[in-house]
Symmetry: C2
Subunit: 205 residues, 2 copies
Amino acid sequence: MALRYALLSLLTGRPMTGYDVAKSFATSVGHVWHAPDSQIYPELRSMERDGLLHGRVVPWGPTTTKTEYRVTDAGRTALRAWLAAPKQPQRTRSPMYLMAAYLEWATPEAARDRLEEHIAFHAEQLAVLRRTRDTLTDGSHPTLAHRPDTLEGPEAVHATAFKVFAYDGMIEAAEQQIAWARRGLALVDSLTADDGSWKARTLLP
Amino acid sequence: MALRYALLSLLTGRPMTGYDVAKSFATSVGHVWHAPDSQIYPELRSMERDGLLHGRVVPWGPTTTKTEYRVTDAGRTALRAWLAAPKQPQRTRSPMYLMAAYLEWATPEAARDRLEEHIAFHAEQLAVLRRTRDTLTDGSHPTLAHRPDTLEGPEAVHATAFKVFAYDGMIEAAEQQIAWARRGLALVDSLTADDGSWKARTLLP
DNA sequence: ACTGTCATGTAAAACGTTACATGATTCT
DNA sequence: AGAATCATGTAACGTTTTACATGACAGT
């Protein structure tokens, strides 16, 4: 369901072919709602069937065509309705917290590996998010920069402000995850320092 | 996949019937990995088929029976293997960040509603998490308190330490979400204060 | 001619949600 | 006798993942 609104949001910027959508998805909305290409093409079609998009067939090369999708009025209405509707919040479902809560079953080495993995992932995320956040504020963001309708005036200010807001939230969340996992490493150290009981336990059946 | 390990983790504490599992799930592992009862019963069966659990049929009342599941050695091995295996991290998929990034399409009122909803949800989560965290440290947690094998010694210390660690992470994350959403409310206020352009825009087709 | 980009998916499986469904037992 | 708890699911549907699959066009 949310994928649909992610695509709608992206296409409000400018009309695009499925390929364009799939590509720019990865460097924009994809940061908040991941989806592989194989999900995007079928969803665009289904959105066209539902009248949210209008697909115009454009010749591409001598023999082939491509489809350029544009958001319809119904599409814009649907996006607004989605934003106006109360959301039932998503319940937690985090493999990392699950692991963390039962790390006493892992060997100290495995526990450290999982925590370091977590740190590495979020550190990389953080780099991407910070870079993207900067392209938003300096106006060089590839997707936002192609929105002729919203480059000037309050619309542009608002659109950018909310994107920066969203990225800031994700950046903070990533920083928090890293800080938390570091404390986890310290905890593992403190539990292995004093005695060999942990290691010994993990060798039992 | 993770549901399986959530159940395994829970059942390492003590053998339980499906009903017991479903009930204590909600107040323990369910905080990190949500699952409805209707998913739990079938999964327990499938885990028994795979040899991770052993189900013992116990008479219950004069005519009926119940099944008590106990983790097998293979189950404990599977749990350890899961904790030792590298995890490919889950990509972001957050309706809230998606909405936040495109809030310029909502009316200011809708934007405020979504943000307040977010705050309310995480505030409630926070209360539950803090309460549960406290029952862990004072030893009154209903599920942990029933683990005869691990009530004393380093096992108990380790098991509790990691659970507290996991809850602390979730508590911080919830606090961060609330602080972030509050900044969002301030942003909405600042963007509506100066001119009427936002409101006007949302009335267009 | 070759390489990289553009273009577009399908098929099967796994996972998760929602709604529905039933009956025994124990406690008051 | 009635209420709350214990016990256990199924069926249908929707979403997401994974793996596979193909070919035209544009630039060097």
